[in-house]
């Protein structure tokens, strides 16, 4: 450890605090990266990994704390780039309509002059060849025409490339998510070489084998804080999973007895041809867990479209959907609270295809009381409510329908804890009445409320946990794969 400390700091973030509304994304996190080391960063959903990456690359200004590059206090994307910080993001960030060389031109403003095309081509091809020997990517092909793995390879190669200024720190956020095992191994070997030549790498991955074998030091984050920061040799897969979890908290909920009775109300064959099949029974609360973006939302949409046609409105809807991203696909921002609530049940509220205003208002009043929507008047605009109350309206919209099955796509994002507790109680009582809830959540506490949990990894269901087995440790162990990429 002392030897590491003597090296130069490339980036140091100290005491960083970032809040998004009620959510504390970072709560006093410290992350120092020295030259010539590979730091592994692990943590479950919402631990603050992406946020701290955005702070380091200058995209996000911390509300508190300091960020220094090479000892100097600077802010902003251009400051980060000037100090040699490069980032490969989880969602691919190439321009799909441009060729590989043109993308290199955008990422490297110092490729100038008449002949930048050949310069860029040489640069990309040299680095592709160095990192992924034997690849077959043509530098003149459009990114759209490449496979996802090839796009990721190109992005990695462009980020490691440097003309005048070599990159000092390359941040890799899930770099192997679409690479096969062979390519991932090539990348890991290159990272070791890059590090041995004095560069630094911040590696984020859900594949613990990669993190353990490639990093010098591993930083574990939880709830916006760094909970462990030790040399990689001191960790094993098991101790890493334990460090990510929270051992103290115990089960506070008495679950309904095993209700796996009768015919499943909803089922789905194994996804992507492997893993487990999905089944849901009446009155169950089923959680979809795992790291964000591993196919849970897609699974929910498939379940929904399976029953509800894409083309024709069905007379009696069997499935209701609670959207996670309120502003994107949840609320109608110009409508009143009441209209937002009743829109899914207009069929049952109307006589002769005309909406019965009286019945609509009765429905609104009853739900306002039941879930305590805090507003003087249901005719107020939906945006006059706080985020948590808007979310309650969306829940009420789904629960007010006659649908027996409710799908929920991480609906509690950015909702304060008090509202959450209220909604949990409503869900419990509705489940007891025979409704089935299928709930994708990125929060461990919510997943632990469920009767049964399916853990997703790389688009497929990897593990089914029932009752007392639903613990943070088991979920973490299933969401992170031990070995190399599948």
């Amino acid at each position: 450890m002392t030897e590491v400390l003597k090296r130069d700091e490339v980036v140091a973030a100290r005491g960083v605090r970032v809040t998004f509304g009620a959510v504390k994304a970072l709560d006093g996190a410290d992350l120092v990266i020295h030259s010539g080391e590979c730091v592994g960063l692990v943590g479950h959903n919402g631990a603050g990994k992406s946020t701290i990456v955005n702070v380091i690359n200058g995209g996000l200004t911390p509300h508190e704390g300091t960020i220094t590059y090479g000892g100097q206090d600077e802010r902003g994307i251009s400051a980060a780039r000037a100090n040699g910080v490069r980032c490969v993001f989880q969602e691919l960030s190439l321009c799909p309509n441009l060729t590989v060389t043109e993308n290199a031109r955008i990422m490297h403003p110092d490729l100038k002059g008449w002949n930048w095309r050949s310069g860029a081509l040489a640069l990309v091809e040299a680095h592709l060849q160095e990192i992924f020997p034997g690849h077959s990517i043509d530098g003149d092909s459009t990114v759209d025409d490449l496979s996802i793995a090839e796009r990721q390879m190109v992005e990695i190669a462009i980020s490691f490339a440097g003309t005048d200024k070599k990159p000092k720190l390359v941040i890799l956020d899930e770099p192997t998510s679409s690479l096969d095992a062979g390519l991932a191994a090539q990348l890991m070997a290159y990272i070791r070489k890059f590090v041995s030549e004095g560069g630094s790498v911040l590696l984020i991955s859900h594949i613990l084998g990669e993190i353990l074998s490639t990093s010098d030091r591993i930083v574990v984050m939880k709830d916006g804080r760094v909970t462990a920061d030790r040399a990689a040799g001191e960790f094993s897969t098991r101790s890493l999973v334990e460090a990510m979890g929270n051992v103290v908290r115990e089960q506070e909920w008495a679950r309904a007895a095993a209700t796996k009775t009768g015919e499943p109300v909803l089922s789905m064959p194994p996804r992507r041809g492997h893993g487990l099949a999905f089944e849901a029974y009446r009155g169950e609360m089923i959680g979809l867990a795992g790291l964000g973006g591993h196919g849970q939302t897609e699974a929910l949409l498939d379940l929904y479209l399976d029953r509800n046609s894409n083309w024709w409105p069905t007379r009696r809807r069997e499935i209701a959907f609670v959207a996670g991203d309120r502003s994107l696909n949840g609320t109608f921002p110009l409508w009143s609270i009441l209209k937002n609530l009743s829109v899914a049940s207009l069929g049952q509220l109307s006589t002769n295809r005309m909406v019965d205003r009286m019945r609509e208002e009765t429905l609104g009043e009853s739900w306002k009381k039941r879930i305590e929507i805090r507003t003087p008047d249901m005719d107020n605009r939906i945006l006059s409510l706080s985020g948590g109350n808007q979310q309650k309206v969306l829940f009420a919209r789904a629960l007010a329908t006659t649908a027996d099955i409710v799908l929920m796509d991480d609906p509690m994002r950015g909702v304060d804890i008090g509202t959450k507790q209220e909604v949990y109680d409503i869900l419990r009582s509705e489940a007891a009445n025979g409704r089935t809830f299928i709930w994708y959540s990125t929060e461990m506490d919510e997943i632990r409320l469920c009767d049964r949990v399916y853990v997703f990894r790389e688009g497929a269901i990897m593990e089914e946990l029932i009752g007392e087995d639903i613990t943070e440790k088991n979920i973490l162990a299933a969401s992170f794969s031990e070995g190399a990429a599948a």
Binding site: N57, G59, I77, S78, R81, C87, S93, L94, C95, P96, N97, L98, E102, N103, R105, I106, M107, H108, P109, K112, W116, R117, D140, S141, T142, D144, D145, S147
Partner: protein, 313 residues
Amino acid sequence: MKISSGTIRLLIPAASLALLLAAVFYMQPRAMSYNGLNLLFNLAVPIALATIAQMLIMSVNDLDLSMGTFVSFCACVAATMLQTSPMLGILIFVGAIAAYAAIGVVIHVRELPSIVVTLGMSFVWGGLAVLLLPSPGGTAPAWARWVMTAKPPLVPMAIVASIVIAGVTHFIVMRSSFGVLMRGVGGNNRSVQRAGWSVIGVRAGTYALAGFFAILSGIALVGLTTSADANIALRYTLLSIAGVILGGGQFVGGKVSPIGAVIGALTLTLAGSFLSFMRISPDWQIGAQGAILIVVLALRLALNRLEKREKSL
């Protein structure tokens, strides 16, 4: 060698133009001459320039609904100020380009939908055009007239102009650094920003360039018609959008092709002549023109689908 998707996208507009041209020649063999070709494609030159301008705007994921009125305004300026006092005329055009750049900045900074802003601007340009030329009139500058009616040997002016326009804009949009940034903004705005570029600057530059080509379109139009009118180019708004799409461009995603856009403009002009040659009554011509558009676009969609299926295999 594998054919890139860009080439495929260019193939259909080129094929449809060739097919339409063959049909016209079959029905009216006399069109297959120097003068015949010039007459067929004469009006395509200003449309091609306006299409290029529209394509530039579309390459950054915006849409310009003021194209028609702006070209009309430019035609009016060209037929009056540019004729009588060239310096003042040039000054007005420089101001118009600056206005376009400013529109780009406003759209970017305020995150306004471009169609709303440009729809509003269309009334401004239309009003200015009426102020300049309340009734049809004015005279084309002698040089504009000369350029548009020149008779180069072997190939008629309309064809030469189209090739020059396609070549120059291909260089700007597809080969230059600025073109790469412009299309980059259309393809993935965030990654351009993350790489440390000024997206405002790119947008402003794109809009200014579009304004420049729209001005050329207005001058070319006056050079052909010899006088101007405040409503002379109103249909250019939709023609230019149709031309870009016909030429393989897309509304979003920065997928544009200057050569395709020029071909699209030529196809649209030719479609009008083709329908006249078929003796379809003018009452039905607009509908028939729409039908041609639908057929070509359906063809493209089918090909896109085929391409996607191949990729997933």
